[in-house]
Symmetry: C2
Subunit: 346 residues, 2 copies
């Protein structure tokens, strides 16, 4: 089944949820153009989530997707916290920042019943998850609203796991994709494969529709990703320069230069591997640091550095999320981009 | 320009040269079916090369490709050799192998004038290189025969470098590909990108035809790889089960199981990053070992272990070269496979 009929949309293009760089405006534009716009909710407090949902409902009648993380909340490992603070200490000194000695609090809350309480009156057409799925009870609760559930798989094993737990479609997230890897059954980065290798193997392994993600930047990329049997695509990076995105000027500049060609899977920003343009902190502490506390605990100690550096016009400590193919990034309205992405689809 | 007109072949499919697992038989079958068969020559002594070329000339009138490595021969670093022997010592003890204390000799010779002397009377239609190009004089010598020259690029920078030195086409080798990474301008594995991300960026950066490689396993994969503007494809892994290949029974068995889903870029077999199915030695010493001597010096010390383990039916120390998509591996004749790969090409 094509995702057009699954989600009742015109174009088989999902605008990927990108926490921290977009809100309802981008989702409304993508959905309004016939794709499936997405609201990333991992960083939203419940009040803010309620407001954003109202904004979307007011902004479009078209189907949309709301996205949540469903990681397990980690216990604080004091030794790792100390090692991480020690690793960052030279940078704190360089920028004259006084270290907060307390453990960094979680900056991302996983999906829970309180979140579901906010969603229930809205009954969003689609909910997507990253890092697996919430509890079976929560999955059942969301499905009871008539909401379709999708989640990311980075391996065949993860795709089968998701299908067996009732998802309506699987997002096959190739290693090219920007932002956080959706991986949840293994933390071995060697298991992560390219989109062109992942999609056909997932298509062969599951019966549900497969949505291709990773490295897709334009209409040719959409055609390429769908050729092995994908039912649709999810595209993120290409939307980062759209006027409706909240991408910072520093991040926008990085995406437009040759620097964007050099990305890495790094855990230095959040504790989980995520693809960012390689900048100073990725180069010096990463790309993968054994000291980085478990997701999302690594975040806290990096934030003051990021804020200070950005205030000086530097992206040296910012997560410059990007996939391996930033060639599709254009400062064009998201609706136009959505239609352009689907231009070769029959 | 499509590679069909560039190489005067019927199908835009290059059977990838795979040193150690195939010879003239596979090349003849692929060329005979209308694709471009390849003879991997990196491991052939000159007498053997001469024989294989004669065999191909006798076996087919169709164009074919001969492939060479063009690495710089490394100087032996005694400290690294010692560290490598120390890392392997426990395995030598386990298998009762007496260590040869001399430095491991190079097992792969780069392309040179003596090799060109053997090629010249044959004037092979296509010569492909891996790890860059030989000297400009050697490139000019090969081109003077009317031979087309191609080489692998793993980044946009490498593609531009190759084009500026006169290649007739660039192979864009995505990170999914099996065997050795062709990378030569950087040894940073973070620079290596998926086929779906690499191909369009290379197509945009160079004027010469671009051949897509990596993760392509079947007709849908060929269509996918060509959608972003590739002029043809190069496929390796899918040929490994063909009766014309010399793939060992151990390697064939690994390709057919779930083990084939877990590959890694490892330097433990040769000193250069190459994609192999993850086996015991990759898991225990790699995937990337700082102790492994420079290519090809890491080879020598591993060979006795490989031989002993294989004699006991184990592939624990064998390079089980494979790309990230082994789903196209079939024990069908290579000619049939070549035609099947091109089935969706107009």
């Amino acid at each position: 089944m094509d995702i057009r009929s699954l989600f009742d949309i015109e174009l088989p293009v999902i605008q990927a949820p990108m926490a921290g760089v977009q809100g309802s405006a981008l989702a409304i534009a993508a959905s309004g153009a016939g794709g499936l716009g997405s609201l990333p909710c991992a960083m939203l407090a419940l009040d803010r989530l309620r407001e954003e949902l109202e904004t979307i409902r007011a902004g479009t009648n078209a189907p949309f997707n709301v996205n949540f993380f469903c990681h397990r909340v980690p216990t604080v490992d004091e030794q790792r916290e100390a090692a991480w603070r020690a690793a960052l200490a030279p940078y704190y000194r360089e920028f004259g920042i006084v270290a907060d000695e307390g453990p960094a609090g979680p900056g991302r809350a996983p999906f829970d019943d309180a979140t579901a309480d906010v969603l229930e009156p809205v009954r969003p057409p689609v909910v997507s998850f990253h890092f697996g799925l919430p509890s079976p009870a929560l999955v059942a609760r969301v499905k009871s609203w008539g909401t379709k559930i999708i989640s990311s798989a980075t391996t065949v094993d993860e795709a089968c796991w998701l299908e067996s737990r009732g998802v309506d479609a699987v997002i096959a997230q190739g290693v090219e994709a920007g932002g956080h890897r959706g991986m949840f059954l293994s933390d071995d980065l060697c298991t992560q494969v390219g989109t062109l290798a992942l999609v056909p193997q997932v298509v062969a392994a599951v019966k549900c529709p497969v949505i291709a993600a990773g490295g897709i930047a334009d209409a040719n990329g959409v055609a390429a990703a769908m050729a092995p049997g994908a039912a649709g695509v999810q595209v993120g990076t290409a939307y980062l320069l759209c006027p409706e995105a909240d991408t910072t000027p520093i991040h926008r500049a990085a995406l437009q230069g040759e620097t964007a060609r050099h990305t890495a899977l790094t855990n230095v920003f959040t504790g989980r591997p995520a693809r960012s343009i390689v900048n100073r902190i990725v180069r010096e502490l990463g790309p993968v640091s054994a000291d980085a506390p478990a997701f999302p605990l690594a975040l806290g100690a990096m934030l003051p550095l990021r804020a200070k550096a950005e205030s000086q016009g530097s992206g040296d400590f910012s997560p410059l999320w990007a996939g391996q193919n930033a060639s599709g990034c254009r400062a064009t309205p998201a609706g136009e981009l959505t239609r352009a992405l689907a231009a070769r689809i029959g």
